[in-house]
Symmetry: C2
Subunit: 438 residues, 2 copies
């Protein structure tokens, strides 16, 4: 993907707080979301710019948007926009960059109309960005797979298929919620290794998982596959994903068909979809496989993907406990990893998914799996960070955590920054743990 004027780091927006160095949403980002604000109850599409939302439904009404994208911009979810494909995405981004740029939209009648499409983000309610037909979760970090494997199967940590097959499984669509939705601690069957029988009760080992998730664009018909060289055009954009996990339930239930109730009680995503086009300046080489690792099979191998299929994206987990919040203390960071450490690229995941003829539809969501790097402070879940509770985490206020406690709030952040590019961010993915229902 070539860089263009929309990526120019020197350009500024007339939405002045979009020029703040710390904002996730400068003129160069332009992520899409679904919001509601003020008296209008119907969800509308919007673009995050600084601390405001640019209302796409209003902009379409004023005739400000490319004609080919107008219908899609009037919907209540991003699915139709995702279905448009790369030419439509580029045309809309280019136009939005013009409309919101200080240089390209000087004071005048056009600026006045553009200004009237702005709404403060603070007063808006965000929704899931798309209707998610199917949600797939992968397992693309070899560091995560190795750590978890070591705990579950000390004799056999990394299974023989890992370096050949981008391991994935289907998740639950109905329980995907948007950032800010509280998550109730699930109940389930728990069986300590030394107990003769399981008991049913509240999960004791509740965990988060730090993930990146990609929304699928146009998709492919059933019975066809997307070649790896064309897979990048199928990726619309990414969000943060917290794949909440009940570790004690998982240990007991996951054989032989994989995780089920340990995962499907809730998955939280961030509301702003950062497009692959916005991420173009942060493309990076794919993970370099250690000597001795097999090369990907031809259907997963692509020279361009090796060169730039990775993403130089920092991903972080923060926590604020109830005690911290009561004391007015700020959230503390638990983890900082980078998406470049993933063993498989997003395009490899998508090509693999369709290699058997499985159809993807606009709005389908592909989770990366927990993003864990080689360093201890880059482990993307508590299971790894505390080594299954054996090494409890000490928080600055003296509290300890093996797993999550009721009242803990988990906040994921993500951002990309590089010399020569404007820093952009993914916003936040936030979830508060509620106690089990009575």
């Amino acid at each position: 993907m070539t860089l263009n004027q929309t990526h120019d780091p020197a350009r500024r927006s007339w939405v002045t707080d979009a020029n703040d160095e710390a904002t996730d949403f400068p003129l160069q980002n332009l992520p899409y979301g679904v919001f509601r604000s003020g008296p209008v109850a119907t969800p509308r599409l919007g673009v995050a710019i600084g601390q405001s939302i640019f209302d796409l439904a209003a902009a379409a009404q004023f005739g400000l948007l490319p004609e080919s994208t107008t219908d899609a911009c009037r919907q209540t979810s991003l699915n139709d926009l995702m279905a448009l494909g790369a030419p439509g995405w580029s045309a809309l981004r280019s136009r939005l960059s013009e409309l919101l740029g200080a240089d390209t939209c000087p004071v005048g009648p056009l600026r006045l109309r553009a200004e009237s499409c702005l709404t403060p983000m603070a007063g808006a309610t965000m929704f899931l960005p798309a209707h998610i037909g199917d949600y797939t979760d992968f397992y693309a970090s070899i560091f995560h797979a190795t750590n978890v494997g070591t705990m579950l199967r000390p004799d056999n940590p990394l299974l023989p298929n890992y370096k050949w097959v981008p391991i994935g499984y289907h998740g639950r669509s109905s329980s995907i919620v948007v950032s800010g939705t509280p998550v109730r601690r699930p109940c389930g069957q728990l069986k300590p290794a030394d107990a003769p029988a399981p008991v049913f009760g509240p999960c004791k080992n509740l965990d988060y998982e730090l993930e990146l998730a990609a929304f699928v664009g146009p998709g492919n018909p059933l019975g066809t596959s997307v070649p790896i060289a064309q897979a990048a055009q199928q990726l619309f954009g990414v969000v943060l994903l917290n794949d909440w996990s009940a570790r004690d339930m998982q240990t007991w239930e996951y054989q032989p068909l994989g995780p089920f109730l340990a995962k499907n009680f809730a998955s939280t995503i961030s509301p702003w979809v950062v497009t692959m086009e916005a991420l173009a300046p942060f493309r990076a080489p794919a993970f370099v496989r250690p000597a001795g690792d097999p090369a990907p099979l031809p259907y997963l191998a692509d020279a361009a993907d090796q060169l730039s299929g990775g993403l130089d994206l920092t991903l972080e987990v923060w926590i604020a406990t109830a005690q911290m919040r009561a004391a007015g203390a700020a959230a503390v960071r638990l983890t900082s990893g980078n998406f470049q450490t993933m063993y498989w690229t997003l395009t490899q995941l998508l090509a693999h998914h369709t290699s058997n003829g499985c159809n993807l539809r606009p709005g389908d969501l592909l989770g990366s799996g927990t993003v864990s790097g080689p360093a201890k402070d880059a482990r993307g879940c508590l299971l790894e960070l505390t080594w299954r509770g054996a090494e409890p985490l000490k928080l600055p206020n003296g509290e300890e955590r093996k797993f999550l406690a009721d009242g803990d709030e988990v906040i994921l952040h993500g951002y990309a920054e590089r010399a020569g590019a404007r820093r952009i961010g993914l916003g936040e993915c936030r979830g508060l743990v509620l106690p089990t229902a009575d």
Copy 2:
């Protein structure tokens, strides 16, 4: 569920072929589907009666249906009807039984209007009965689990969780197709046990799986669970399900997160949803656990479910190979099992699914897992029938099968018959295997 006039085996329909003994769709069945016929392109809801379809959109237009169900009957899928819940379902069934009964709808103006709602089934195109938001597949036959386990893990066939946890996993919604849709042989990674590395190519061990699948009714909000005693009210009805499986791909990919590409290339369902109310005369005691097996945990235990949570439903697999069809030979039966042999009831599956707060939505589909009984001729897939190819199947025309060949057509049938009740059937679930795409 109590029996009422709609179950009376003595009653006959004025749709005369609905009174044929061999029909799956007598007056006592009244299954729902979505069809298109003649010049009207929009899918409509219909009820199968003999060899005809009773058009619910037309009947609603004539004011023939209960007012509380009229809107739902005018939709293009059954989701709204499924959302109505048991009172609405009963009211509609009762009215349809009246309208189509020879005794309750004698020759006259009402009969004339009812007759005008009939369309020949032969000329109709069937669609998926509902928009399936999430598809879950279980593993509820202990005979199937034991057989498969013996092949994959000879030292450890039935895992320790099996008798406690109704094992299930999420499947793919996008690739569920309706009976009659051809299924393309998938490609994928194959790794024979003695090969040093996998290769990518057409699946060699393509299999079917004989399953029953239940459509969810009103569902439950996220964070709540459906108690076992209320789970039956959440079940709308059932269809046949062929969970096509690529066994060689499955063996290599399924650890540690379960089957993925080995299953998600296609799943076929029958078009007519037979309601739980129609199945009321065929309720049976739940499977009697052998002495020594643990009792279900309290959240899965219900006295009424033990008494009548089973279904006395015969399920069959038939095959017609290309060679058989060319010779004008009829399909031959490979398997005949009964749903009573399942270790877990449908209500236990549903209660378990929601026990962690996972939300179900109207139209969600719950597959039972392969229905295999204790006898060899009740094994619900070729993997079991041919013991992974070690005991090839001999067909009457001399052909042999270890797994499916291109051109094979697999046809599932299901029916219920009992003394004192009118026999009803599930129709058929049909799929032709096409060769791999070029």
